[in-house]
Each structure stands twice: as structure tokens, then as C-alpha cells.
């Protein structure tokens, strides 16, 4: 089976671009706090979602709807309505993280396929099987803390399909279990669907030195002509002891295209591209690359060389946790 390419779409235009560029599957979210990319100007209203699903289906692609924040106490109905709307739009599955919402969807929308979001950080076969047995989860998006051999071991012990991130932004922390952003800004991925939100970013350029602050904390200071990464907390430059540097993670982005053959051997079903906040031109380019790669792999041809470096953050790439030395 050819590996499934799962592509981000932050806008209807990006969805169409991804489908036309060869995405087997597109994932997107509603334009509210129910999804983990709740950024200004992004995402789909109900009508756009229906039209997007129709467009994708007409071209033989699938659509997954991410409802992967943790519902706010007292306001769960907003998230419940999102699940209903996803089903009504004809989406092929919902991507959920919250236990209560999984339970709700399993009881009230049994016919709607359920995927476990990376935000649930299910990092071993025991807990994955637990989600499958309890909530009928059919696929799990694996957290970005696992090495390729660990992914292979998981696939030996579970029937649940696995989806792994291969390209784009990289969370260095276990997803869904990080409150760095709300500590500095009051807004978090879990509650608000944003990390290091733009509303709390300040750039200040003086004499060619660019300071990027988040919630008042200095995250990056770069000289003229240096790449300027977005001030994501965990990729900032900090000091501890007598050392200064990127103590948590360098401003790199994930590129595991060279690992695709190994991921296939490890039993992975689907390859996920991060970036619902990126433009449609970016999405189309990345999708075309990965589609070419998996098609070549399926045909037994050599993998094409990587072309994607320049689209990345700070123009540096990592294979992340897939190689054990990352830890």
C-alpha cells in the first residue's frame, strides 16, 4: 500500500491546492477555539468545510477535521457542535484529543471515524490500545518524542493505524502537555489552540539587531542578515548555568523525507505534514515533493533528493526524535 500523505489546509484555497498537488488526505479545522491552529484569518466556517469536503471527495481525497483542543469547562457544547458539524459536512474522520470529547463522540456519533490527535501524546502501545478499546479510535497520530525503532515496536503491538509527522514545525515538548505558552501569555495550545500567539509577539529592530519578544520575554536577538525565526518559546535562545544558546531546541524544522522507507518498514500508515498556518504555495510544494517520494517508493524507484530546505524555519532541518541521539 502506498503511504498516505496527510496535508494541512488553513484555508479553502490551501485545501484545493493540496488536493490538486496530490494529497491523499487533507486535515483542517473550524474557525474557532476547537482546533489547535486557531490563528487570525485561518480555518473554515461550516459552509466552507462542506464545500471543502465536496471538493476533496470529487478529486478522490479525504478530509479530516481536527477538533483537538481541550473543551473549556462550562462550554463543552461548542466542541460538541463542532463534532456534529464535522459529521454533517461529510468529513472522513475527526481528530480528537480530549477524553471527554472522545467519549462524547463515541457515544453520540458512533459512525464518525475517530483519530487520536497528537495532542493526546499517546506514546506507547498500551495506551494506544486503551484508546482503541475504550473509544474505538482507528488511528493515532504519534507524538514527536519517538524513535523509528520505537514506532516499529508500537506497530507490532497494535492494530491501530499510525500517522507520523514528517515535515514542518517541530514540538520539542510532548504535545498537549505543555503550558509554556500560557505561562508567558495566558493563551495555550490546550485551551486556546495557539502556542506563542502572534497577539503577544513584539518585534523591535534597532541598528540592524532584531529583538523578538513573546509576552515581554526576549526569545531571540538576531543580527542583521541572520534568519529570523518566529519567537516560539521552546526554540528561543536562553541562558542556564554558564551556557547560552538554544537550550531546548534549535530553530529548526522537521524533515524526515529521507526516513520514509524506514517509516514504511516500521508499519506507519500515514505521513503527516505540519503547517495549517502556511500559505497554499508552501502546502502545494511540500505535498508534491512527498507525493513524488511515496510514489517512487511504491514503484521501487530511488527516492528523489530533498528540495524543501528553503521553505523551513531558519533554513535548518532535523530528523527530530526519529533518531535516538536527538534526546
Amino acid at each position: 500500500m502506498v503511504m498516505e500523505i496527510v496535508c494541512p489546509a488553513g484555508t479553502p484555497a490551501a485545501l484545493r491546492a493540496a488536493v490538486k498537488a496530490g494529497a491523499h488526505t487533507v486535515y483542517c479545522g473550524f474557525n474557532d477555539e476547537t482546533n489547535a491552529r486557531n490563528f487570525p484569518g485561518l480555518n473554515f466556517d461550516r459552509a466552507e468545510m462542506r464545500a471543502g469536503v465536496d471538493f476533496a471527495h470529487a478529486h478522490g481525497s479525504k478530509v479530516l477535521v481536527a477538533i483537538n483542543t481541550f473543551p473549556r469547562a462550562g462550554d463543552e457544547a461548542i466542541w460538541h457542535r463542532a463534532v456534529s458539524a464535522a459529521e454533517a459536512s461529510g468529513a472522513d474522520a475527526v481528530i480528537l484529543a480530549d477524553l471527554g470529547l472522545l467519549d462524547y463522540a463515541a457515544r453520540n456519533h458512533p459512525g464518525l471515524r475517530r483519530h487520536l490527535s497528537v495532542q493526546a501524546a499517546a506514546a506507547n502501545a498500551d495506551v494506544i490500545n486503551f484508546y482503541a478499546d475504550t473509544f474505538g479510535v482507528k488511528r493515532v497520530v504519534l507524538p514527536r518524542v519517538l524513535s523509528v525503532p520505537e514506532i516499529a515496536a508500537i506497530n507490532c503491538e497494535t492494530k491501530v493505524e499510525t500517522e507520523v509527522f514528517v515535515f514542518g514545525g517541530l514540538c520539542v515538548m510532548a504535545e498537549g502537555r505543555c503550558s509554556l505558552s500560557s505561562y508567558a501569555t495566558g493563551l495555550s495550545p490546550n485551551m486556546n489552540g495557539v502556542c506563542s500567539p502572534a497577539s503577544h509577539v513584539e518585534y523591535n529592530e534597532q541598528q540592524g539587531v532584531l529583538d523578538a519578544r513573546l509576552g515581554g520575554y526576549l526569545i531571540h536577538r538576531v543580527e542583521k542578515g541572520q534568519p529570523a525565526p518566529y519567537p516560539t518559546l521552546c526554540k528561543g535562545c536562553f541562558s542556564a548555568g554558564d551556557k547560552t544558546g538554544h537550550l531546548f531546541e534549535d530553530p529548526v524544522s522537521l524533515n524526515a523525507e529521507k526516513l520514509i522507507p524506514q517509516l514504511q518498514k516500521a508499519g506507519v500508515t500515514a505521513l503527516k505534514i505540519e503547517g495549517r498556518q502556511r500559505s497554499k504555495s508552501y502546502v502545494a510544494q511540500v505535498v508534491r515533493n512527498f507525493r513524488t517520494a511515496v510514489d517512487a517508493l511504491e514503484a521501487g524507484q530511488p527516492m528523489p533528493e530533498g528540495m524543501l530546505a528553503r521553505l523551513s524555519e531558519g533554513q535548518a532541518m532535523t530528523t527530530g526524535a526519529y533518531k535516538k541521539t536527538w534526546r
Binding site: A198, Y203, Q226, A228, S279, S281, R310, S312
Partner: protein
């Protein structure tokens, strides 16, 4: 598709020189009319701006002696060209004209331009992000929109678009229309 860094053409001196002397008020008026037409034809654009649909944006083509002040004004946009670099706004996006136009036309990825510092955002980053995302979704075709303009404001805009195409080397009809099909 072109990669951003090192390949963004700068506007040549003659165009910059011309913009230093021509009166800006009529051009501002033409651009206001043009932007209203675009807003009317692309209602999704204003919807996507959400809470930022009345924000003062300053678009600063760094290779030209003018800046463009844009307020979407809830769907009835106002555009004002000025030679003052200090033009006030909630958010300012600066970069070569080719980068700004390439962004509108989906030729470049905003994040990639920003990482390479071809684009610089100051002020309210959320507003800049909303504008970027809204424009990316709208799939604007400036040349086509300009061609369909009529009346006294049509000619200056059509000339401006043609000039911008020549000077930036960007094709202001949609690039992926050719590339994707």
C-alpha cells in the same frame, strides 16, 4: 516556483525616482476604488480579517519612496499613498515590492519570506497574520481585476499593474493556474 531569498528583484531607480515626484492624491483615489472593487468581488477576504477588518495597515515597499496605508474599513477599504516613512498604523509590513506583490499572488510563502527576513513585520503581528492568511485564501488576480475596471480610475491602475509586472518581473496573473493543472 521561485525561492524567495536572494532572488527578489528590487525596483530600479527610475521607477523610484518617478514616484518621488508624481502627485499621490489621484493615485490614492484610484487605489481606493480598485481595492473596493476587490473587496466587493472577494467578500471572503474581509470576513477572514475578522476583528482586524478596520485595522490600519502600513505596507512599506522598501525599494520605493512611498508607503501604502490601507484600512479595510469593514469592506469599504481606504487606501492612501504617502511619502512619509513614519506613516502610523497598527501593523507595518515592509519588504521589496516584489515580495509584497508575490505574497498577494501566492508566488511566495509569507512564513518563508519572514524567516529569510525579506519581509519584516512591526506592530500587531496578529493583524499582519490575519491579512496574510486572508489574502492567501482569496487567490487574488490583480491583473484580471484591473483589466475589468472601467471609468476614470481604470487607466492609472492598469498602467501601474503593467509597470509593476515589468519592474518586478512578477506575473500578476495567478502563477499556479498554469502550474497546477
Amino acid at each position: 516556483m521561485p525561492y524567495p531569498q536572494n532572488q527578489i528583484p528590487l525596483c530600479p531607480a527610475p521607477l523610484a525616482a518617478a514616484l518621488r515626484v508624481i502627485p499621490l492624491a489621484p493615485l490614492s483615489l484610484s487605489l481606493t476604488v480598485f481595492s473596493r472593487k476587490i473587496a466587493r468581488n472577494n467578500p471572503g477576504l474581509i470576513n477572514r480579517l475578522g476583528e482586524f477588518d478596520t485595522t490600519d495597515f502600513v505596507l512599506d515597499p522598501t525599494d520605493l519612496p512611498i508607503v501604502l496605508c490601507l484600512n479595510p474599513n469593514g469592506g469599504l477599504p481606504k487606501v492612501k499613498l504617502t511619502r512619509r516613512r513614519q506613516a502610523k498604523g497598527s501593523t507595518r509590513i515592509s519588504g521589496p515590492l516584489a515580495a509584497l506583490l508575490g505574497l498577494v499572488h501566492g508566488a511566495f510563502d509569507g512564513d518563508a519570506l519572514f524567516f529569510s527576513r525579506d519581509l519584516v513585520v512591526e506592530g500587531d503581528t496578529s493583524a499582519a497574520l490575519a491579512l496574510r492568511n486572508a489574502v492567501d485564501d482569496a487567490e487574488l488576480n490583480l491583473a484580471l481585476e484591473a483589466a475589468s475596471l472601467s471609468g476614470p480610475f481604470a487607466r492609472p491602475i492598469q498602467q501601474l499593474i503593467a509597470l509593476a509586472e515589468r519592474q518586478t518581473g512578477l506575473c500578476l496573473t495567478r502563477p499556479e493556474d498554469a502550474a497546477l493543472w
